[in-house]
Symmetry: D2
Subunit: 131 residues, 4 copies
């Protein structure tokens, strides 16, 4: 049913800031974004909101890859390295899945493979509506 | 020295997604964003990344309002209400300030004053460089 | 039905480390703990686990004060002041409540009323089992 | 200088609730705790405070394994599986280390190796005092 692809294709915000879906399989997603001047904050490094949006999109695709609509309840992000240019990749992996709740860890890395941000997210999986 | 204004004026990402600085004083900031189609995710509600970016910008302005450059170490956001349109406001208040660390709480609310997201952020305050 | 009192009375861990329930009403709870040598860490200040347990118990009582069993999904705590002695109080307030999810903020303060830790928690409210 | 061992040996709270240090090396720590009735909450499962304390102690040992005193700034924990008995293990690994800040991920698992809680922590590394 490809819920994950649909989520991505319809995600205007992710597309508007240049996020691309690279690959996905059940419980996992890889997304990427090439930094431009529009992603920078007042001190010339990638904005926390841009890094979060990249991680959050990987989380959204991974958590919606299981056939139920999943919505984010809570997310945490630690910023560990300032970056100003280049291509960033975010990889989400499923740490836990129960009928109603999924927990995901996301790593954002730069082109050298160094960690830029570490993200943890909890999603609520909605029951399908009766037809 | 108006570090806070400077941070805002030079913040390309915040401006590019439509975030406005409403007011700021030491330890506090209010910012706003009017939702457009470009802020929406695949299910037609405000993207977590857009809500985070709004809250994070309030946090950035408040934490940079004390004369030292402050960088985000860690932030947490809970999403509590889905919204699709209208104007959102984020208010950051300082919960704690020590020489090197500041902790801030941010509430994102809709036009009715209802809570949309609750955010908590920890910032590291850099020592000024010797001239 | 006093779910909150029941939760407290049966909570062996909270009692074993000296946490007391001070007061509760729907969506709110105040708990306290007097620091002893057993609450200290290797550098002689209150252990993060002790501070967390105090905040978490206020969160548990407040989130269980609405007639449904609520379980913690995710919590975040920022430690802002080291303390070594005296009585600590944690106050939980409900920031948001939906049928399945509640979000709470908890402040841990010392006897001077100064903030020691800031906590944010998301709880999942279970559906009552059919009798 | 074995700061990590010292931190453990002097940690009254960790010992008082039955936490044991299993192994540690620079940037990593494994700790364990066998659940007793005193670790349970009002619904008969391991208390969030007990699970947090276990994870937090792994984080403390790992972040203090580098020769500087490290204090917790912020931690997040997601609770993913309720457990009532048996031995729990928490493994902390360093995700990032800079001169002043370390970021750690901790997994708490049960005897079957299933994830019970997922923890992320940010520590501030103090400058050594001049002698």
């Amino acid at each position: 049913m490809a819920t994950d692809i649909a989520v991505w294709e319809r995600d205007a915000f992710a597309r508007s800031i240049g996020i691309e879906l690279i690959e996905t399989e059940p419980g996992r997603a890889v997304v990427a974004m090439t930094l431009t001047l529009n992603h920078l904050n007042g001190v010339g490094t990638a904005h926390g909101g841009a890094l979060f949006s990249l991680a959050d999109f990987a989380f959204a695709v991974a958590s919606n890859s299981r056939g139920l609509v999943a919505v984010a309840l809570n997310t945490t992000i630690s910023f560990v390295k300032a970056v100003s240019e280049g291509r960033l990749t975010a990889t989400a992996r499923e740490e836990s899945l129960s009928p109603r709740i999924g927990v995901y860890a996301v790593e954002v890395k730069d082109e050298k493979g160094e960690l830029v941000a570490l993200f943890q997210g909890t999603a609520y999986r909605k029951k399908p509506r009766p037809v």
